[in-house]
C-alpha cells in the first residue's frame, strides 16, 4: 500500500501508553501522524523538532499522533514499557500509540522511522516524507511539516507534498 497525496487515509484506533484507545478522527484542522520509535537515531534526532511542531500548532487545531509499530520482541527498546517510560519522562506532548499488530503501518505504507504523514480536515493526505532535509540541522525546524501545515491551514495546496522519508527501516515481525 502506498498512499499518495489526495488519497483518503485509512482510519485506525490504537492504544496509547496507558492503554486508552485513541482514534484518527475528524474534527482536527489537520493531523500529523508520525511513525517513530525509541531505538532509532534518526527518530531521536528529529524528535525534538517534531515535538516543537506539535506544541506550536496545537492552538491552531492541529493534532499530532505518534505511533510505534516496530517488532518489540526483536527490539525491546520499542516495547510498550519503554514507550511509557518516555511519555512519563515528558518526551511526548501528545499521544504515543502502539501498533502491536503493525496493521496501521502496513495500511499507511510506512517505511522508516520517522515517516511523517500530514492529513487535512477531510481525511486526505497532503504531505508524506521526512520532517526536513537534514536530521543533523536543528535550525531546519521540521520545515517540510510546517510548510505543509501552513498551506493546509490556509486552504492552499502543499507545494511539495512528497519528500523521501529518511530513517531506520520499520522492524517488521517475521
Amino acid at each position: 500500500m502506498t498512499l499518495r497525496p489526495g488519497d483518503a487515509v485509512p482510519g485506525f484506533t490504537l492504544p496509547d501508553t496507558d492503554g486508552a484507545p485513541v482514534a484518527l478522527q475528524a474534527g482536527a484542522a489537520a493531523t500529523v501522524v508520525v511513525f517513530t520509535c525509541n531505538h532509532c537515531p534518526y527518530a531521536l534526532a528529529w524528535h525534538g523538532r517534531i515535538e516543537a511542531v506539535s506544541r506550536d500548532y496545537a492552538s491552531r487545531g492541529v493534532r499530532m499522533l505518534q505511533i510505534c509499530s516496530n517488532d518489540a520482541e526483536r527490539y525491546p527498546r520499542d516495547a510498550p514499557e519503554a514507550m511509557r517510560a518516555r511519555v512519563q519522562a515528558g518526551e511526548f506532548s501528545g499521544p504515543y500509540l502502539h501498533d502491536a499488530t503493525q496493521e496501521v503501518a502496513r495500511a499507511w505504507g510506512a517505511k522508516v522511522t520517522p515517516d511523517v504523514f500530514v492529513v487535512d480536515s477531510g481525511g486526505r493526505l497532503v504531505y508524506r516524507g521526512a520532517p526536513d532535509a537534514d536530521h543533523r540541522d536543528e535550525s531546519l525546524r521540521a520545515a517540510y511539516v510546517r510548510t505543509a501545515l501552513d498551506a493546509v491551514l490556509q486552504g492552499n495546496a502543499v507545494a511539495e507534498p512528497l519528500t523521501k522519508p529518511v530513517g531506520c527501516s520499520i522492524k517488521w515481525r517475521s
Binding site: 537515531p41 530513517g167 531506520c168 527501516s169
Partner: protein, 119 residues
C-alpha cells in the same frame, strides 16, 4: 609501532540502516585530516543476528581500528541488526559518530605520528 597505513581500519554496516555512506565519508575525512588520505578502509557487511553477535556488532555503522572501536558503545549494549545511536559532542542524538570526537579517537588509536602528514 606499525604505521597507520598498516592498521586494520574497518567499517561494519547493516544494509537496513542508511547511515553508513555518511559514516564512511566522515571516516575518510578524518583520516585525511590526520594525513592518511590513502589509508585502506575495509567495508564489512553484517547480514545476520548470529553474525552481529559473533562480531560484537551493536549497530550500524561501527568503526574499528585493529578491532578497537574509536567511539565505543556503552557497556552492556546488546548486539543486533539495528541502527546505532551515537551522541554528538553537544549531546544530540545522531546515526553517525561526532566527526570531531571520531578524529580525536582515531588520532589516539593510530598513534602520535598519525597527524604528522597533516602538519
Amino acid at each position: 609501532m606499525a604505521s597507520a597505513d598498516a592498521r586494520s581500519i574497518e567499517l561494519l554496516y547493516w544494509e537496513g540502516c542508511p547511515s553508513h555512506p555518511q559514516a564512511l565519508a566522515e571516516l575518510r575525512d578524518a583520516l585525511s585530516e590526520l594525513g592518511r588520505p590513502d589509508a585502506a578502509v575495509a567495508l564489512r557487511r553484517v547480514a545476520s543476528e548470529a553474525e552481529a553477535a559473533s562480531l560484537g556488532f551493536c549497530g550500524s555503522p561501527t568503526i574499528r581500528v585493529d578491532g578497537v572501536d574509536p567511539v565505543p558503545p556503552p557497556p552492556g549494549e546488546p548486539t543486533g541488526l539495528t541502527c546505532r545511536v551515537y551522541r554528538l559532542a553537544d549531546g544530540r542524538y545522531s546515526p553517525t559518530p561526532d566527526p570531531g570526537l571520531l578524529r580525536e579517537a582515531l588520532e589516539r588509536l593510530l598513534g602520535p605520528g598519525a597527524a604528522e602528514g597533516a602538519r
